[in-house]
Symmetry: C2
Subunit: 335 residues, 2 copies
DNA sequence: ACTAGCACTCCCCCCGCCCGAGTGCTAGTC
DNA sequence: GACTAGCACTCGGGCGGGGGGAGTGCTAGT
């Protein structure tokens, strides 16, 4: 059905269209790619490709443009990743050197990714699935208010202010000691279990206070799972303003929604995945593609990726996403 | 020079133009506002207003639109703030109830502000000018890496990973103790001074380690001053796409730059301030206005505000910004 | 199976047109 | 002197109609 030449034609259409933003005609193809056949032959192949749904016409006498299905085939079978240039590699390494903490890693990475791909980058905070509790601290702020702090082994710090009512130094200190003894080195799930009957092992007089703290801790542990997503490079969207039909509004709306972003990154695997147009199952993103990858030490970690028009340079973008994901993983592993 | 009627005409032009997005002509004014004069008279007044630079023509035979100077006069003398509706007040109160920590306050507030104004909201993290150091902690992560944590009385937690080389528990514990003793209760400036000769008061054998920690702490204290700015509601920009000449690109570019945002909020005072068009001193923001206010307990605190087209409903926006700033201040004061 | 040639289709750009909103001015009125 | 009525003038924007051109689909020929 789809012989080699037809595939070559499809590849030519995709690459040329991505490059020029304009429907590509049969003559342009034989000229720019050396296919050694006439334009009429290419036209026949095009008719076949259109029949199969890989390309379309904007109107009768225009060139062809790929459909979502066409891009999909291209990504799956025709587009090998473009290796990054040395300059790009250097830029990545330089950009990510000298990070100081998790916040820093995330904010720098997402900006970097936006820059190298010239598109919108999104990145999820690392989850602590594999991280373990390192320290729990309780710091008095004002009057009866204290700040509860949880540090995990990946260097992430979570915090919550709580009101303990009247409480003396010593009692608070005691609870803190016990919590650290009980939870240190534990993963989030086991820590949460442990907390269930933590209070009952304490002296009655500190139980009230302890239960408040425990509740807050459980809250933190639960919140860890639903991680924040940060976005960068929205300004890059403007160059595609004609790309997304009916302007940028729907895309921007989608990007404002944490839930949507989480879903986009949710299915990222350790290898680069591409979701094209309709495959995003979101009306606002019907003319957008998402190139995503997970990163981190274990594959259940968090995700990062790029959002752009379906008419996107997939090979280059995929290569960039993969490279950045790997660099970040390495940096996370080193700490 | 500018009698009452001329001012009334200017007010009419501003309000009508903000409402309709279209140049407003002399006839429309006498019809929609009961001025009890003929359109010819209004035309004369318009000519005078134009002479003074408060309004212009897009072209010869079009209605008038306000200039930056015209908006300025309107804001200064003609636009009283619109009181918020009860619904809006309720929404604000509801939205901001039940916050758990600083991150939460900031992210909720900025989203709220974007929503009530239907524009882009920006907000600076509270600075700790008036806050004092509450706790310093050092938590081991992997191998030689540790996480340095600084908690201040406003509940803000700053962190940094550092590499201490080989170091035993006890030495680290000692340094931590000393640091807490030395710095607890101090403002950031005094703390920084104190750190200058902190190392020399220690036993020689811990000095190497201590100096690493001190350097990192100074770094954190310095970083506190340049606070992060968060943005929300960028999607609201799309409704103004025709507003900003040459599309949204420059605005989006400006919004991506932390430095620019900081500058916009930098001069915010405790009362609402408005910067109109050129007054922003930034090419990309020449057709944008910024309505900002500071918030927090002391007036040197941080800022929040709204970015929109110069053609903006100033009275309503100013009222919203002020209301939100006050609510946030109150919440911050309560903790 | 491929190609050359040709008729056909539409989009897009350009041009000229007219319409109408709005102005500026001048002469007239209270 | 301040306001108004009236009128000529200006200019943007919408409308319609060609012409050019890129590209297709088809058919007949190699």
């Amino acid at each position: 059905m789809l012989d080699d030449r037809k595939l070559a034609v499809l590849r030519a259409i995709v690459t040329d269209y991505v490059f020029s933003r304009e429907p590509v005609g049969s003559r342009a193809i034989v000229e720019r790619h050396n296919l050694d056949v006439s334009s009429a032959t290419v036209r026949n192949d095009m008719a076949a490709l259109e029949e199969e749904g890989y390309i379309t016409h904007p109107h009768t006498s225009a060139g062809r443009i790929p459909t979502d299905k066409g891009y999909r085939l291209f990504v799956d079978r025709l587009g090998m990743m473009k290796p990054l240039s040395i300059g790009e590699k250097k830029a990545i390494a330089a950009f990510l050197s000298g990070v100081v903490d998790i916040d820093d890693i995330v904010s720098r990475t997402v900006r970097l990714l936006a820059q190298v791909t010239s598109q919108v980058a999104i990145m999820q905070y690392p989850t602590m699935t594999s991280a373990v509790v390192r320290r729990i601290d309780i710091v008095p702020l004002h009057d009866t208010r204290v700040l509860l702090i949880l540090v995990n082994s990946s260097g992430k710090v979570s915090q919550r202010t709580i009101d303990l009512g009247v409480a003396d130094e010593n009692t608070v200190g005691l609870v803190r000691e016990r919590l650290n003894e009980a939870l240190a080195g534990m993963g989030p799930r086991r820590a949460a279990e442990m907390l269930q009957d933590f209070t009952s092992c304490l002296m009655p007089e500190v139980r009230g206070l302890a239960s408040t703290v425990v509740a807050a801790l459980l809250d933190i542990l639960a919140a860890e799972r639903s991680t924040k997503v940060v976005v960068a490079g929205i300004n890059n969207l403007t160059q595609f303003s004609d790309e997304f039909k009916t302007s940028l509004a729907p895309i921007l709306d989608a990007l404002e929604e944490q839930v949507v972003l989480l879903k986009l990154l949710g299915e990222a695997t350790s290898d680069v995945t591409v979701r094209i147009g309709q495959e995003n199952h979101h009306v606002n993103l019907a003319s957008a593609s998402v190139v995503a990858s997970s990163y981190g030490v274990d594959t259940t970690g968090a995700g990062l990726g790029v959002v752009g028009p379906t008419r996107m340079d997939y090979p280059a973008t995929m290569a960039s996403v993969r490279a950045v994901a790997r660099y970040v993983s390495r940096i996370l592993a080193e700490r």
